[in-house]
Symmetry: D2
Subunit: 388 residues, 4 copies
């Protein structure tokens, strides 16, 4: 296996973007359980995100969601972030919470609704220009609940047209990233349900359009790392939304449900040139901490990604290639498993300390008093959540 010392340079390049909304309340259709200390505005969300970065060195940017994170003065928000050592990242649009979007947004059969949805994306691009964000991420809730409810083909054509109008506004150093999702909130058909559809749509747009792969957005049994490989091969993997799942889009902590799957995904990322500063592939989290505390939930998540990345980097690629070429099924698998079963935590703790970071960020957070502080201070006001 590769020596740990030889991968520290690559590990130092790791950057995972945190979603502002992970710090707000979230839940299921049955109940949102509010938590003490939850931010009341985008500034407080960024403060919490910065705490995660402070303790891990892994989370230098924060993704915003519009309109949840709308503020009067984005310059001020940016300064606030930079003052805490983090930057503003991807702008996420929202096409699912306005009453107008009941039957769809960019794919709606109603021209006025499409207009509203397109204009919303123009607003997002305006915000990007002010925040300095480079990526516009579009996750579409569009779909139908009943067969026949709408014409899927016409919707796909309208979607292409809407995306084209948005893409035309994307700046030279900006990107449009289109996410796909197997189902939910639509229960019969979803307008961008799989990587093939997202790929076909962004390929038609042009060079600044990419696919976003959310690890929780696939049919049961889907080999996700294969899709990672394919999108990298096709030059169209723009970003990841990391999380994990046992059933549907559970939005659990990345690596919690199937750590070996996360490892295999990162193996393909590294193999396909999707890792590191110049890869063009953004690592983001998209999770819901419905019952666990949010800040340690985020810390745990970035550590999980880091630990699995380390294992993926440790693979003895020469030995692997030799076994593969020899048709040695068990031998090749063993090389992979050897890296997976390696306990990288002690080496990472040591390396973290050498960079002035706490050896154990989870413990450091628990001992920091930060949680007690925000729970005491953030009383009154409206807690942030998906609705606002």
């Amino acid at each position: 296996m590769t020596d740990f010392s030889s991968i520290t340079g690559l590990l130092a390049e790791q950057a995972i973007e945190l979603p502002s909304w992970a710090f707000g309340n979230s839940g299921t259709r049955f109940r949102v359980f509010p938590q003490a200390g939850v931010p009341r505005d985008p500034f407080e969300k960024i403060t919490d995100a910065a705490k995660v970065n402070e303790l891990t060195g892994l989370a230098p940017t924060v993704a915003l969601h519009i309109p949840w994170d709308k503020v009067d003065d984005y310059g001020k928000l940016r300064e606030h972030a930079e003052g805490l050592g983090v930057g503003l990242g991807t702008i996420n649009s929202n096409t699912f919470q306005d009453q107008a979007y009941k039957l769809g947004s960019l794919a709606s059969s109603d021209a006025a609704v499409r207009r509203q949805a397109i204009d919303h994306h123009f607003e997002c691009i305006d915000i990007m220009n002010r925040t300095g964000s480079s990526d516009l991420k579009i996750w579409l809730a569009d779909g139908t609940n009943y067969p026949g409810q709408d014409d899927m083909r016409a919707r796909q054509d309208r979607l292409a047209d809407s995306l084209g109008q948005i893409y035309a506004r994307i700046g030279d150093s900006q990107r449009l990233v289109l996410e796909y999702k197997f189902f939910e909130p639509a229960f019969y058909h979803t307008d961008v349900p799989d990587w093939g559809t997202s790929y076909a749509q962004v390929a038609a747009l042009g060079e600044k359009a990419f696919v976003c792969l959310d690890t929780g957005h696939h049919a049961p049994g889907t080999n996700i790392e294969f899709i990672v490989m394919q999108l990298l091969r096709l030059g169209k993997l723009g970003s990841f939304d990391f999380n994990s799942r046992f059933y549907a889009d559970d939005d659990l902590i990345v690596g919690a449900a199937d750590p070996f799957q996360l490892f295999r995904i990162l193996v393909e990322v590294v193999r396909g040139g999707g890792y590191g500063k110049d890869s063009g592939v953004a690592f983001m989290l998209d999770q819901c901490h419905n019952i666990e505390k949010k800040i340690p939930g985020q810390i745990r998540s970035v550590l999980n990604v880091q630990e699995m990345t380390a294992r993926a980097l440790l693979i003895d690629r020469d030995a692997l290639g030799a076994a593969q070429q020899a048709g040695d099924v068990l031998g090749a698998n063993d090389v992979l498993m050897d890296a997976f079963y390696t306990d990288v935590r002690p080496a990472l703790a040591e390396w973290r300390e050498s960079r002035g970071l706490p050896a154990n960020p989870m413990r450091a957070y628990a001992e920091s008093g930060y949680q007690a502080k925000i729970e005491a201070e953030r009383v009154g006001g409206d807690q942030a959540g998906w609705g606002a």
Copy 2:
């Protein structure tokens, strides 16, 4: 195939219980789209349910959900219902919306939380005594999101203990019906995830405890009619929660996603003695009309059940049995399919008219002016939904 005239007696026995909550607003974790005309209180919900029964003759009772349908005077609610030609049915408890239930209710590791949840069921039984309801239906949201979060075995034992306390209060002419669900809102483990667990629990309770089968609560690919057969064979099928799904617990209109599956389920119900007045099996709907209008959604649903029941009753059981005994695979399947492909709608329309009901209840509703009336009248106040 059996002659239609020979099944009208059985069709006349059909009774489908409507859920009060289907008339209120519902949605996904992303958005609840409120609809015009939605009831503001339990009385208005029952008024809407009675309209469904008036037009179809199929829905003589309404299930209540506590606390959503709590009123000061249940006698008054009962009179209201009876004045409109319907009765009050199953009482559904709620163990998922109180902040105390964040980590579980009847299976919680916190004795005080279990006490609260048990007491809530005592209250439900008190209400049953006042409404004259015979069934207490328990759907438990209990479960965990992360491996290790709690001890599954201890939870199962605590659940058994809690159910035992509740069962001890069930009256001689009452029943406890325990629903199971594959997942949601818990994403790692659910305390009553499958029919086997529900069966084991109710078998331990005694003769007045039964299983409730919600058609949307199974793993992908599950043969639901097999479970229907097995529970009838074991004498433990208490009731159905009908709805349909393409993916998870989508709660779509029953029969909308897979009409052939609904047919096969009803074939086993009829085969196993689960149909008709004295069967002891209650037919209920449990659906969410997130984007379609609620009252016609319910009308469509009960008609779907009726139409499929008619097809199931029309099967030529002699021909089927003969082909099965002969090992004639295609012949036996053909007998079944012959009934499924029969268009029973004209005969049902005629029969409906012969009983003083509209031939086409969907059209009758559309032409009744009822929707316009409630949309005009029900302005102001708090619309009913899952939260209240």
Copy 3:
């Protein structure tokens, strides 16, 4: 709803290709149950296929599988077919039964194995030139069973190279059609697992390369009609392999597992211009009659496709479009369901008779004495199956 008389012209265009291998023995990994009367050679297979066409008028061509259907003289085979009123259709290659293909064929890491697999396809094209077949269909069993066993990315690149070499031999009036499959016989990764991969590969080849959609080759819950719509929209739907499934690639009779799904698929086919003589979309069956008799199994299958096509054609497209445009969820769904629930069998029987075909082909076959005849005559010799 549209009048039946207005769709008879379109129905007359229906042509469904039968797979020669459906007449041979098949089974599961646990057991192949041989059946009496099964063909011993390609000539007898075609004789059986012609019987299906004789009784239904729906199956004018037979697909061949190489090497299972290799003969010394393809001209003679063609004459045999034409003498029975049918033609030879698609040539299917086989890259899964030679010992050399244990770890893959066109994607293998072994250059000699790839050479063998490519040469096999050259041979198939030679056969096409002799049989007059226009389509070369490639279903690849390639994949791996264990993570790390081989490099997925390198395999994809090698696959592209191999396909390119084969494509270069495809004649001007010929087509290469690439099938995808979710899994089996590979259990970790499959080299062409989804429509997106097949699409990306054939798009890179050129205008004579298309995707083949096998209705049993998807992840649980996949909306197949969406893929039909998308491939038609992208101009890359080459053909269907029809069958049905409850679990994996069960290869049951088309329409047997989920008739409503078959209907929805055909609705999108018609909607997207995929139906009829000039559509460029080939309808084929790909099924295994493991326990039911093979010839009536094929008759039942083509009738199922015909009946569902009739229902799809009967949809009142104007009413559907109006309801969709109005956002009338239940109304639009009702228009679709009205066609689905229509019993087209009597009208089809009548129309069949008007064309000199038996009203009930299943019964006509049973009464024809053909089955008894082949069971008596085809004694001795090696029954056809997947192995030979």
Copy 4:
């Protein structure tokens, strides 16, 4: 975390039964790829199994499959095994490969077929009496492919009757263990499809009847460790068939597809008293090494079980219980993950050496020359496989 030295006593109790058929050829319905050196008879299978035990100390018994492992003199087979340091274990019946079983065996509608299947089990019990085996394991392939093909309820009743007759012959120190399976080779319904059905059937038989849980026999997404917990709680978990899967019943090496799932299963085994000499729970493998070498495939498998057992035993149960009781979601999960991420391989290697076993059994096998020897010696004869 618990100290490794404190678990070595428990590790020494580990015994994993090997399936004789894992050493023979196996494959998919598409192809069985024969391998060099494969045994030609039950004696050679046991020789190979003994080699696995020699190198690992983990596999003291071998399961037999009747009729595949029928011999004239079971005493001689037993002596052969004991001479190599292993014993004969579970007897597995076969109700899927006789032509008579085409439409079922113990559940068949044909009394003569049921008689044949029951008599086959009587023969198995006779063999158990001669081999000294204590467990009769029944996996039933019974089911149907098409709705209506047979009466599921009648089949279930006939199955209960057949099992009752077999159970009546089971000796006082013997057990009947009934396996369940989600699907395959039946594609519409399976007569014992889930743990609930197996549980209901064995509970009706009596105290010597138990459930066998095959880890590859569940619907997608099923929480298997929950079933382990429940069956242990109900006192009915008789044995495991270990293997792993990505899709269906892939029969891959245990732990290969989802190592974390294997860990969670073993955590529940330990928690519920299912581990160790007196637990009454038998650990068996049931796998197919279709493309990898069989003996190292088995070695890898038992090592995977051992390594995961070690991790499960290492859990700090006190810390876990404290975090669970405190409702500390992340803390409790962390305790579990800490054990999972621990690399137990060095400690196991050391411990193995201390017991006179090779530190690395995989390497020891590779260097032993055994593979070359059997490949050279086992030439000619009929290789063992599923058919013989």
